[in-house]
Structures are given as structure tokens and as C-alpha cells.
């Protein structure tokens, strides 16, 4: 599974660093390092919906507060 987080300006201000840090933590917590690839990109063109995240090309809007929820529904349940 490939998760891409937007680290462009608009998403950055909306907390993409916190989203990345949250995902990094959750991935290692669940030992998913070999199953989930986390990467960054500059701007997905949907700045209004930031922080922009894609999971295998499917778009999600995530906030630092909703990282846990997002991870559970869209990563953990799919991978396990």
C-alpha cells in the first residue's frame, strides 16, 4: 500500500507535518513498515481539501486530529 501526503504550502499550514508524523508513528506502532510505503508530494491541486492524502491513488482529506481515525478505516482495516 502506498500512502502519499501533500507537503505543499497550503497543506503544510494545515498541518501536513503532524499528519506525516502521526502516520509514521502509527505505521511503526503496528509494524507495518514493510507493507505500507509513506511518501510526500508537493501539491495535489486540491488545496481547499487539505491536508491531501492518497491511499493507492484514492483521495482522502485528513487533519492532524483525524489521523487516527483515517488510519484505522483506510489503512489498518485494509492491510490486516
Amino acid at each position: 500500500m502506498k500512502i502519499t501526503v501533500c507537503i505543499g504550502s497550503s497543506c503544510h499550514i494545515k498541518g501536513s507535518r503532524q499528519v506525516v508524523e502521526g502516520l509514521q508513528y502509527l505505521i511503526s506502532e503496528h509494524n507495518l513498515g514493510d507493507k505500507v510505503e509513506l511518501s510526500g508530494t508537493f501539491c495535489m491541486g486540491k488545496c481547499k481539501d487539505g491536508v491531501c492524502v492518497t491511499v493507492d491513488d484514492k483521495f482522502h482529506s485528513v487533519t492532524p486530529e483525524s489521523v487516527d481515525d483515517f488510519f484505522e478505516k483506510n489503512v489498518l482495516s485494509v492491510v490486516k
Binding site: 507537503i7 505543499g8 504550502s9 497550503s10 503544510h12 499550514i13 501536513s16 507535518r17 506525516v20 508524523e21 511518501s39 510526500g40 508530494t41 508537493f42 501539491c43 491541486g45 488545496c47
Partner: protein, 475 residues
């Protein structure tokens, strides 16, 4: 609303704008010969002896706007027809000399070059004079003038002489492409080559960023430019031009500050590698010092490398900054793979207007990737501050930074000379070829006292407060 410092810049801009306008429409080859007449219409001359000379010079400017002489490796070129062959006699006593009694000029001259005639009027013996200018400074009547050409005066590394036609001539073995002469020549007879056509081509062939994405990486000195609009409007303007997104070169500066401080702590002495003109100067004038130059790529190259290697392998990246020397840097083997083209703020203004993008009418977009420390690289002293911060964030508490921030290429020369003789008690040399740092770059639209404060303000507005936070997202 003042866009440029001088009318020379404005003229150069008009040429760039017209060339770009035709290029967007794919009509450049049909209309290129008409551009001089479009800029100087009618029969009355406005700048030179006649309209025909004006147009001949403009034709040369058009050529430079289209990339210049392909056989000349230097990105800075003399427009020989535009060179006014200014006098170049050095210091001369003018008729303001009143034949005073004090003779301060004589006393201050260490070379004994000043003599007096029967009327006590001073004369300079050219065989003894070294053009130090001391006599000129002490004369109470300002009677001693410097007849040095402005281009030669601007070129502190003495790369400019004159050719057999008395026109300015650049020694490519010495020139570091800093652009000081470009900015200072009052006739606009020296210019940087422009690559705006490459940029327009990259944007057009991307077909609205569908074939590949086009990125603009902007230097932090942009915060001191385009002040008739808001920075956020400039960013929107870039997107209107066809860029997919805009990224701060200052994020590359954060990355550089982080690894440079580590390299410094390991090696114990280092010079910066951010300013391409400074590095080129070391290469050409102090080759023995090359081993001390930081191994980091410049912030521009560092962030572009990151974008291409980690986020978008097919990205096309254009660097937009204040610097003519960057045009030389992007051609270097080490940098070429990462940066596709390079233009200045001057050229960006021409691109905006050629595409009828009025940035003052646009909404604001965000530009926020870097920390305070990455952003203040744009002014002299900022790099050293960032390295200090880098040392702190690495936890090198025992390492005491003794930095010399060199403001302008003359100060760089002094520091390098002292270091090579072992009489400089510092462990880090920050070299900035332009006075004030990048904000003094020749490709800036405007230069001024306020620019440093603007950069610092922009730095303080950064969302991230530390280097570690700014770059942690990249890992």
C-alpha cells in the same frame, strides 16, 4: 508604483516582454525582426544619436533575450553596440581644484603621485598612481574625480577591460557572473542571457501540467520584490502562468543549514557553498581553498534534487531568483540534472506582463515550506545564523561557531586572502558575492535599504520555527 530601479532595467524588461509575448503565441520567428521597431517607433530618437542605432542595439537585446551568443560560455555578455566607450582614465584632478595650501591629497598619497604646478594646482602622476582613491576622499572641494568606467568600478574582481574598439570586454577566466556590471552599466551594455524561451517552452509542452508537472522554486529574496502586490498574489500569478506549484528554495536552505552545520563540526573549518559566484571565485582565484568549500549543493539544487528524486521523477523545475550567477550554476554538471531552467525576478515580471497576468488583481496563495532560518539565507549574515542554529539543533553544544559573514565579493576576497595566509581566526566563512546578500542580486527588480527588513519579516512569518521541524517532513 515603481517596478524597477533604473530605466535600463525597464528597457531590458520591455524587450523580454515582447519576446515572451510572441513566444506564447508561437509567432516569435515571424515577428522577431519587428520587435525593435515596436519598442522604438517613429523617427525621433529617445536614447541614442538616432533611431537606427537604438534599433540596432535593441536587436542585440532581442538576441540576448533569446539566449544570446551560443558560442560564448559566459552567461554575461557585452552588447558592443550599446557600450558608450566611457572614459577610463582613473583618478583625475578636475578644474574644481582651487590650489589650496593644505595639500591633504599630497599627504595622504602613499605613492607620492601628487605634484603641484606654479598655481598650487594638484596633478596626478599616472605612472605612480594606483587608483586607491585616498586623495579623492580627503579633498575638501571634491576636486578629484574617478574616471573609471562604471562597469570596471562594479567589477571588484577585475574581470573587465576594454577591447580594440574601446568597448568593455569580459575575461571569462575571471568572471564569476555575479552581474554587478549588468546592474551598474548606465547604458545597459552588459546583460545576462535570458532563458525565458526555454521556460515558456517547458510550460507549453506540459499541456497544463498533464504531460509532466512544472515546478517553480523561488528564492527567499522574493519577499523583498514585487512589493506593489502581495507575495501570495505573486504565487497565484505563477500558477496562472502555468506552473503546477511553487516551492521555497528556503526549504533547501534549511536542508543545507542542517547538513552544513554537521559538516562544519566534523571538519572544523568550512566556507559556504550557497552563492555560486562566491564558489566560482574560489575556483578561479583561490583554487587551494577549494577543499574547504562545503560539499553541500546550493539550497536551490538541494531542494530541486529532493523534488526530482523523492516526489516527482518527471518534474520540470524552474528556479526563479535574484541571481545571474545561478544561470551559470544550473549549467554545471553537478546541478544540471536537477534544475531545468533559471530566470530572474526581472524576467518573471516580463513573463507576467507578456501573458497579461496582473498579479494585483489575483487572490493570494500560500507559500510556506521553510523555517525562519531557511528564509533568512537571502540576506548577508542569515546563513551563518542558520548554521549556528543547525549546530544547536544537532546538539553540538561544545562547538563554538566563529563565523565571518562576507558582505560582497571584496569582503570575500579579504577573508579568503587572510585565511590562505593563516591569519583569519574564524571557522566558518559565509561568502556572499552581492552586497547585502541575495537581496542585492543583479536580477532583482528593486534594491534598497528596506529589503533586509522585508526578508526578516518574511522569515518570522514562517509556520515552522526550527530547521529540524521544517525538514522533518522530508524524511
Amino acid at each position: 508604483m515603481r517596478k524597477f530601479d533604473t530605466k535600463v532595467q525597464y528597457l531590458k524588461y520591455k524587450v523580454l516582454r515582447e519576446v515572451a509575448r510572441e513566444a506564447w503565441k508561437d509567432t516569435l520567428w515571424e515577428n522577431v525582426l519587428d520587435i525593435p521597431k515596436k519598442i522604438v517607433p517613429g523617427r525621433e530618437s529617445t536614447m541614442r544619436c538616432c533611431v537606427y542605432k537604438e534599433r540596432a542595439i535593441l536587436a542585440d537585446r532581442v538576441k540576448l533575450a533569446m539566449g544570446g551568443d551560443k558560442d560564448n560560455p559566459n552567461v554575461i555578455e557585452v552588447i558592443e553596440t550599446a557600450c558608450d566607450e566611457c572614459p577610463m582614465g582613473g583618478y583625475e584632478v578636475t578644474n574644481s581644484c582651487r590650489g589650496c595650501l593644505a595639500h591633504r591629497c599630497e599627504d595622504v598619497c602613499k605613492k607620492g603621485a601628487i605634484t603641484f604646478d606654479r598655481d598650487h594646482v594638484a596633478h596626478i602622476d599616472k605612472s605612480k598612481c594606483v587608483d586607491c582613491g585616498a586623495c579623492s576622499k580627503v579633498c575638501p572641494f571634491n576636486a578629484i574625480a574617478n574616471r573609471k568606467r562604471p562597469c570596471q568600478n562594479a567589477c571588484k574582481i577585475k574581470a573587465i577591460s576594454m577591447n580594440e574598439n574601446k568597448a568593455a570586454k569580459i575575461n571569462n577566466d575571471k568572471c564569476i557572473a555575479c552581474g554587478a556590471c549588468v546592474y551598474q552599466c548606465p547604458f545597459g551594455a552588459i546583460s545576462d542571457k535570458s532563458y525565458i524561451l526555454d521556460v515558456i517552452d517547458i510550460i507549453k509542452k506540459s499541456e497544463n501540467n498533464t504531460n509532466y508537472k512544472v515546478y517553480a522554486v523561488v528564492a527567499p529574496s522574493i519577499s523583498s520584490q514585487f512589493r506593489y502586490a502581495k507575495l501570495g498574489q505573486v504565487i497565484t500569478g505563477l500558477k496562472e502562468l502555468g506552473f503546477h506549484t511553487v516551492i521555497e528554495a528556503a526549504l533547501g536552505a534549511d536542508m543545507v543549514a542542517y547538513s552544513e552545520s554537521e559538516e562544519l563540526a566534523e571538519k572544523g573549518f568550512l566556507t559556504s557553498s550557497c552563492c555560486p559566484a562566491f564558489v566560482d571565485y574560489i575556483r578561479k582565484a583561490f583554487p587551494d581553498m577549494l577543499e574547504y568549500v562545503s560539499h553541500n549543493l546550493s539550497p536551490m539544487a538541494t531542494i530541486c534534487k529532493y523534488i526530482k528524486e523523492n516526489t516527482d521523477k518527471t518534474a520540470k523545475i524552474v528556479f526563479i531568483g535574484p541571481c545571474t550567477s545561478k544561470k551559470m550554476e544550473v549549467q554545471q554538471e553537478r546541478v544540471r540534472p536537477y534544475v531545468d531552467s533559471c530566470i530572474t525576478f526581472e524576467e518573471l515580471q516580463a513573463l507576467f506582463d507578456s501573458a497579461d497576468v496582473d498579479i494585483t488583481t489575483l487572490d493570494e496563495s500560500f507559500l510556506d515550506n521553510a523555517s525562519y532560518f531557511g528564509r533568512i539565507f537571502a540576506r548577508c549574515g542569515g546563513l551563518a545564523d542558520a548554521v549556528q542554529q543547525g549546530l544547536k539543533e544537532h546538539g553540538y553544544d561544545d562547538f563554538e561557531l566563529k563565523a565571518q559573514s562576507c558582505d560582497g565579493i571584496e569582503a570575500c576576497r579579504t577573508a579568503l586572502l587572510k585565511k590562505s595566509k593563516g591569519v583569519l581566526d574564524v571557522n566558518f566563512i559565509e561568502g556572499m558575492a552581492c552586497i547585502g546578500g541575495c537581496i542585492g542580486g543583479a536580477g532583482c527588480l528593486t534594491h534598497g535599504e528596506r529589503n533586509k527588513a522585508e526578508v526578516d519579516k518574511y522569515g518570522r512569518e514562517a509556520y515552522e520555527k526550527t530547521i529540524t521541524d521544517a525538514i522533518s517532513i522530508l524524511k
